[in-house]
Amino acid sequence: MNRIRKVSSKIISEQEAVETFVKDGTRLRSGGIAVRKPFALLNEVVRQRKKDITLLLSGFTEDGDILVGAGVVNKLEGSYFGLEALGLAHNYRRAYEQGIPQKILIEEYSNFGMTMRFMAAAMGLPFMPTKTHLGSDLVKYNVLREKKAHVLEDPFTGEKVMLLPACHADVALVHAQRCDADGNLQVWGQIGDDEWGCRAAKVVVAEVEEVVDESIIRRDPNRTILPGFMVDAIVIAPFGSHPYQCQGYYDLDLEFRKMYASMTKTREGFLQYLEDWIYGVDSHQEYLKKLGSERLERLKAKPYFSEPVNYGY
């Protein structure tokens, strides 16, 4: 594998990133479980009207709901499909219950099951063992895979263990706080399953709040979750997780999330949302303009800084 790249060329627009790496039919892992969701990239995937995407996630919320509602996604492997405290995910329900805008197929696991499936893929293993799923209907209904799970009698103790198959992705989208020009990617706050989800993909497209000098990254390498040679493209997207949070950068936009939950109760409402916030804006930058600087200012994180630590020897 030749890892030499012209470093400067990794930083590209969200349009170019999605055009280049997200193809119709891609197995797409999207990052974040309830935090740091890569909405700047996901909105662009919708804007480019990709088709037949298989979406791979632990917890789908607005991210999966928008992609399903926009007809981008027709298969999902995941665990949770809802809007958390804000109720059910309506596009998802309409698609599953009524085939609007199209029928979707779902292979369901638990959150941890998905994490372990990503870990298996990331570690080059065909499966990972767990002590979950046992005795439940999660392993009874298989939809996309001929063999969804396997109960093994442990050869050492005789106890029963659930083996879950590796979940490989073609492309992983992830939102991170920062990286350097080579793509060394740093995250803090909850990690969710982004480490393993990203590593399970052949290609990683990262959106970041900012690209910083490599000296910042390399003075604190314990914060890196993915080395630059595994990151194929970098999209600079401040507030890219809006309406979700990004630790140290901004808080959630609860009003926006409530608006989404409310608008999407009807198909018409969702189409309006699509027009207002995705098709009707050209880019993430336009999206931010539409939100308005006053609103963004209000969402900005308060300072609560860690102390420096010494990496010297």
């Binding site: 479980i33 917890g59 329900r93 638990s110 099951g113 979950t132 046992l134 706050g189 909850q190």
Partner: protein, 257 residues
């Protein structure tokens, strides 16, 4: 009869009271979060709260809107991801109790949060497992919380998302689950425990709720504890904290203004 508190408030209070001081608790979205805030403030200051996105020993300054809320992060003791929260702490047996919601529940505390109706062509598609199957499989005990009606307390689940006691004694062991099972079910009508046959029974009915009403809202012939009593009401301090500090906007407890 009008109570000086709502049944949602009563549920949050009793969720909190399930957490004993020094215990490690796995907290889900919604009322359990409010309960955890109460517990930590009042009777369980040494309890350790875990959120599945990777937050260990959280001390949030506001009530989190979700398990991934950034407000859980500052002043927590450790941050990892699902591998740490579930793989390490929960799966290895370090979590004393976890909270789970339910759309359907049966006599053995098995839970459905996936579909109402036939799996492939349901009347209602629900969110699915999320972390529920993990918590229900792996915590030392779980507390189940739901708004009760007859269609939810069913004889047969449409889908078994999260194992309670499955078909009863020895069943969890037989399928390979390492421990655990439901300890309590807290609804808007009463609080339930599980007997030696691992079947649900009524422990207490909420103020203003009759046993008759409870029976009407269970599809099977629910057992009643000989010691059944009225559920203890919230204390003024619990109510004050919920209303003034933990959910002033009524996000989880509903509009109260």
């Amino acid at each position: 009869m009008t109570l000086p508190y709502t049944l949602a408030e009563l549920m949050a209070v009793h969720a909190g009271r399930q957490i004993k001081d020094g215990e490690v608790a796995f907290i889900g979205t919604g009322l359990p979060m409010l309960g955890a805030m109460l517990a930590k403030r009042l009777h369980a200051p040494h309890a350790v709260m875990i959120y599945e996105s990777g937050v260990i020993d959280a001390r949030p300054k506001r009530t989190p809107i979700s398990i991934g809320d950034a407000c859980l992060v500052p002043d927590s003791a450790m941050l990892g991801g699902l591998v740490e929260a579930i793989g390490f702490l929960l799966q290895a047996g370090h979590v004393d109790l976890g909270f789970i919601g339910a759309a359907q529940i049966d006599i053995h505390g098995n839970i459905n949060t996936s579909v109402i109706g036939e799996y492939h062509h349901p009347q209602v598609r629900l969110p699915g497992s999320g972390g529920a199957n993990d918590i229900g499989s792996l915590a030392q005990r779980i507390v189940i919380m739901l708004a009760q009606d007859k269609r939810k307390f069913v004889e047969k689940l449409d889908y078994l998302t999260t194992p309670g006691y499955l078909w009863g004694k020895g069943a969890r062991q037989e399928v390979g689950l390492p421990r655990g099972g439901p300890a309590k079910v807290i609804t808007n009508l009463g609080i339930y425990g599980f007997d030696e046959n691992l079947e649900m029974y009524l422990e207490s009915y909420h103020p203003g709720i009759t046993i008759e009403k409870i029976k009407e809202n269970v599809s099977w012939d629910i057992k009643i504890s000989p010691q059944v009593q009225e559920t203890e009401p919230p204390t003024p301090e619990e109510l004050r904290l919920l209303r003034e500090e933990f959910d002033p906007q009524g996000i989880f407890l509903g509009g109260r203004e």
